[in-house]
């Protein structure tokens, strides 16, 4: 009852305000907690296919769909990886090498050509440049499938079916999206250095190679990691152009394996792990470039 005396006084008002502040703080904390709980739940759902791929790859095929379902493999069958890597007719080690070759060559070609062409569009003036650049942007909207059949027939006429030439050669001529991206990068560079070199009589190519390229290394990394990733993913191109299984990259090899060995789920999952793991390693090594690229250009996976 003594509180009545303080009814309209300052301290009580102060206490009420403190209560309000505390309440707001608790509310914020509760919301943050709720957010984390939802995020953790989503994270578990996102991680589940990874876990299941790994778990299934370590089970004998007969236990991949066992009843009751094994949430952890028992016994663990590491031999699946050995068996998949050396499976008669489906040499996954060979596939691994093919994928590395294909993705590696495509990356070299794309980085070189897009660095070169993007520079031409960004920093050199020549008649017709702007029309050519607009055309380049227009090609971004054309679905790849409309150019597919004549391109295939072209390589068929050239006698290059059944080789990696149709898959790799075009990469050395550029890619609309990455040319566009490189151009934006070059446009943001200061021009003074190049101008000074030009006054000193350096050739345009030398300016590009020795002065400009080192400055856009982060952009080149973005082009490189995404080209590598997407080429490793490529299934359609190899499906159309390659015919001998010993030439297959991992994606196509895995597809062919599963088409023929329908019941070998343990080995198929081991093959899936072998197909995925190198990219996960690349991703963690070059994570910065990946996140940079997504932020800068809105790249889709």
């Amino acid at each position: 009852m003594a509180q009545v005396a303080y009814d309209e006084s300052y301290p009580l008002d102060h206490a009420a305000q403190a209560r309000r502040v505390a309440l707001a703080r608790w509310r914020r904390r509760a919301i943050a907690l709720l957010r984390h709980m939802i995020l953790i739940l989503v994270a578990v759902v996102f991680a589940l296919p990874f876990y299941w791929m790994l778990v299934s790859s370590l089970k004998p095929s007969s236990l991949v769909f066992s009843q009751p379902l094994q949430l952890f493999p028992n016994p663990i069958r590491w031999e699946n990886f050995y068996d998949a890597a050396t499976f008669p007719g489906f040499p996954f080690l060979r596939f691994l090498w093919n994928s590395t070759f294909y993705a590696g060559m495509a990356t070299i070609g794309t980085v070189l050509s897009c660095a070169l062409v993007g520079y031409g569009f960004a920093r050199l003036r020549f008649p017709g440049r702007d029309i050519l650049f607009i055309l380049t942007l227009v090609t971004l909207m054309i679905p790849g499938v409309v150019t597919l059949i004549p391109t295939f027939l072209l390589f068929k006429t050239a006698g290059l079916l059944g080789s990696y030439a149709p898959l790799i050669a075009p990469r050395f001529l550029g890619d609309a999206f990455f040319i566009f991206m490189m151009r934006q990068f070059y446009l943001n560079l200061p021009t003074e250095l190049a101008d000074a070199a030009r006054v000193d009589g350096a050739s345009e190519f030398r300016i590009f190679w020795q002065i400009i390229l080192p400055l856009v290394r982060p952009a080149l990394m973005v082009v490189a990691v995404f080209t590598f990733l997407w080429t490793w993913h490529d299934f359609f191109g190899p499906l159309i152009y390659l015919s001998d299984p010993s030439q297959y990259p991992l994606s196509l090899g895995l597809f062919a394996f599963r088409a023929q060995r329908v019941t070998e789920w343990g080995l198929t999952m081991a093959g899936a792990v072998l197909t995925t793991l190198p990219l996960i390693v690349v991703f963690f090594l070059a994570q910065k470039s990946f996140l940079e690229g997504i932020k800068l250009t809105g790249l889709k996976g």
Binding site: A43, V117, L173, I294
Partner: protein, 308 residues
């Protein structure tokens, strides 16, 4: 040529040197445009009016391929249906969920980087491998998902073994890959000036009003970008459908997408003319849809400094 030669004549030696270097720099790309874009585009258009089985030279058949496609090929309409079903559900659903996820991630807290990495990781997995994992997860009798559904007393559909459930399965699978657009949205959210949100708060806006009147309009260009890219890509879905259903689109043509149909006609039946015609239709359709989205976007996309 006359148009081009005029600026050339007026050029100083220095400008001419620069122009020559410019042509040399873009030369590879000009070759690519001619060889791998312009020529194939024209050739596809031409082939679509012919009968061409690779063995003999193409014979002109006029509009026959298109007439057959629209009036006499049930598979074509099935593929149109399947592709539209997949694109029109998976794209909006993916957009809403990736935006929601980005909003959840848009806070300062330790561990956000970890979530970001994990959510993007599925986009790194090769589509063939990812699809096979989902075939295992969605196995009707003793797959992990149906085992879970039965445990909690929910109906367990046969997914990729049931023509009515295969496309919903494919759509659920596509949601595993929303991490990439989530990160694009997150970057967009982080670009929104804090001052605008604080100003709204001072004016008495609650969380919902802030989202609806500040965040969403400022994010609308990013939404448009993700929408257009999503539609263009999802109408060309191939690998996933092919891994699940093969060239026949099992079960019961429910996985027969337009790209699978083109592949089947071109490289299964060697009907290059007919496959070209379907490709032309697919392109026109995707173009029209993109144009429509851009047209409608004037009503909802906020342009900074524009009228609005």
């Amino acid at each position: 040529m006359a148009v081009l030669s005029k600026p050339f004549r007026r050029m100083s030696p220095l400008r001419w040197r620069e122009a020559r270097a410019g042509y040399l720099f873009v030369l590879p790309w000009v070759l690519s445009l001619l060889l791998f874009t312009l020529y194939p585009l024209i050739a596809t258009g031409y082939l679509s009016f012919t009968d061409y089985t690779v063995l003999t030279s193409p014979t002109w058949v006029g509009l026959d391929n298109y007439v057959t496609m629209f009036t006499n090929d049930q598979s074509f309409w099935t593929a149109v249906n399947n592709s539209a079903y997949y694109a029109l559900i998976s794209v909006p659903l993916g957009l809403v969920l990736s935006l929601a996820l980005a909003l959840l991630l848009n806070m300062r807290a330790t561990g956000i980087g970890l979530y970001r990495t994990l959510f993007y990781l599925p986009s790194v997995v090769p589509p063939v491998a990812a699809t096979l994992v989902f075939v295992v997860l969605f196995e009707p009798v003793s797959g992990l998902i149906n085992t879970f559904l039965r445990t909690v007393g929910m109906p367990a559909p046969a997914w990729f073994a049931d023509p009515n459930w295969s496309k919903p399965g494919l759509i659920l699978m596509s949601l595993w890959g929303i991490g990439a657009s989530t990160l694009i949205f997150l970057a967009g959210l982080q670009d929104i000036p804090k001052s605008l949100l604080e100003a709204a708060e001072i004016d008495g806006a609650g969380a919902w009003a802030k989202f609806w009147h500040v965040t969403l309009p400022l994010l609308s260009p990013v939404i448009l970008f993700n929408l257009v890219i999503g539609v263009i890509y999802s109408f060309q879905v191939f690998t996933q459908a092919m891994v699940i259903g093969g060239t026949t689109g099992r079960p019961l043509e429910s996985m027969l997408m337009l790209m699978v149909l083109i592949y089947r006609n071109a490289f299964g039946y060697f009907k290059m003319g007919y496959a070209s015609a379907i490709a032309v239709v697919l392109m026109v359709f995707v173009f029209a849809l993109t144009l429509l989205i851009f047209r409608l976007s004037r009503r909802w996309v906020f342009v900074e400094g524009g009228e609005q």
